[in-house]
């Protein structure tokens, strides 16, 4: 132990900052999204006036989507419905849920520049796993 404060590795700082600010943006989107949904309830994949009732009646997720939205349009329905309330909210969720993936790519680049290839590999592995899960290509 000594009294000189150690400098944190760049990869670590960069990862923390990217995740943090992407989370903040994702949160802001999720604050505003439900308001947009209420302003124009018809212009949503699922009308919010019927969604909560269906959820609290104990219907399964698939049933809720079928009853209120006419069927589940897929996890990335925000791409075709970006300017609708629930599409915009789903975008916020998707952004937050992939924030670590984007941050890990940036961290991997930093580790690669520092020639710490083992951690470049680990970062890319986890990042690839996140995007693979987000693509929906691998499901049991």
């Amino acid at each position: 132990m000594d009294s000189d404060r150690p400098i944190m590795p760049k990869g670590q700082i960069v990862y923390g900052e990217v995740v943090y600010y992407l989370t903040v943006v994702s949160c802001l989107v999720c604050i505003v999204g439900p308001l947009i949904a209420l302003i124009d309830p018809e212009d949503n994949v699922m009308n919010p006036y019927f969604t909560f009732a269906a959820i609290f009646q104990g219907h399964s997720a698939q049933e809720v989507w079928t009853i209120v939205g006419g069927g589940f349009p897929g996890g990335h329905f925000w791409m075709d419905n970006f300017f609708t309330g629930d599409g915009f909210t789903q975008f916020g969720l998707a952004l937050g849920c992939t924030s670590a993936g984007f941050a890990l790519i940036v961290a991997a680049v930093v580790y690669a520049f520092e020639k710490i290839y083992l951690y470049t590999g680990f970062c890319l592995f986890v990042s690839a796993f996140i995007f693979l899960a987000a693509s929906g290509l691998v499901q049991f």
Partner: protein
Amino acid sequence: MRRVLKSPWPETFIMILVTVLTYTAMTTISFVVEPPEGGMATGTVVGWLFAFFILSLVIALLAVLGGIGGGVMFTPVMLAFTPVDSLIIRGTGLIVAMFSGLISTGPFMRSGLANMRISVFLCCGFAIGAFTGANGAILVAQHMGAAGEGFVRLILGVILFTLALYFIFGGKKIEWPQVDKADNFTEKLQLRQPFYEPSLNKVVDYGLKRSRWAFLCIVGVGLLSGFFGLGAGWAIVPAQNLVMGVPLKVAAANSGVLLGMGDCIAVWPYIMTGAIIPIFAAPWLVGQVLGGLLGAIVLIRVKAGFVRYLLIGFMIFSCWGLVTRGLAGLGYIKPVPHWMTGIVFAIIFSWVLYNVIKMLKAKD
């Protein structure tokens, strides 16, 4: 004044401002807009959104005060006492767990308390477990119907009871584990990273060992987290602390980073099957992020051990709800009458009150 211009103050102010404006606008809409025929009243919809946000905020603040993760509160309570489908709750539970982890990642990484190398190495294992667990949850929900719902509640009730006992009796933790000799594999990974510890006013360098065993433990923890939609800090911290010899504070910080990173994988099978309904999940997400930030700013220095008893009380009460609903769902017992649940609630919270009073008296 300069302090207020530094992170996390500006983003916290912006988020609070946007939240206040949004909920004010929603309240205004509820007085003006007529609901569609057969739909919920606008005020009721706004009420639900606001209630979820406030509940999530309270859970996040209590989690900071009590040192117990928010995810471990949300999922059991919702599963035990609401009619909402278990897959929807577990998916949203992962959102609750991961966003409290994601928002704490920045400060932990900046301060150096968290160790990126340990986090990303263990996350490789967590990723495999969590993805398998989440897909397993969906398979069970799709093929086992009501029996699957009962099974999930029952097993979660048993896990939660074990967890409550672990929290009551503290479990074995070592603040500064002594590592005399590291194994070759751990050495090769170069996981060590000295950090400045303000309470000691020193830079602490720590040794590590048995990283491959910790990796295997984390695969199991990921499986549990993905399947039940729980935050798993309660298991990640001891796995690092007792198996690898990571100092307790570092292990706790790594756990937040790891949950944020790893649950980014576990959550996607839920999103891709529609188990995360955006308008239902959004207020819970916002509450966790704002609660986590406010908790870190305002409450981090407040020592409120008694809140821990309150949270443990809720956990035990949730066990009761989970086990009885699980057994009823499987057809082994009839639904439990409300008066009996009331008696159990009174007994558990008398115990909580007794312990809180005892604790406060001991402080005096």
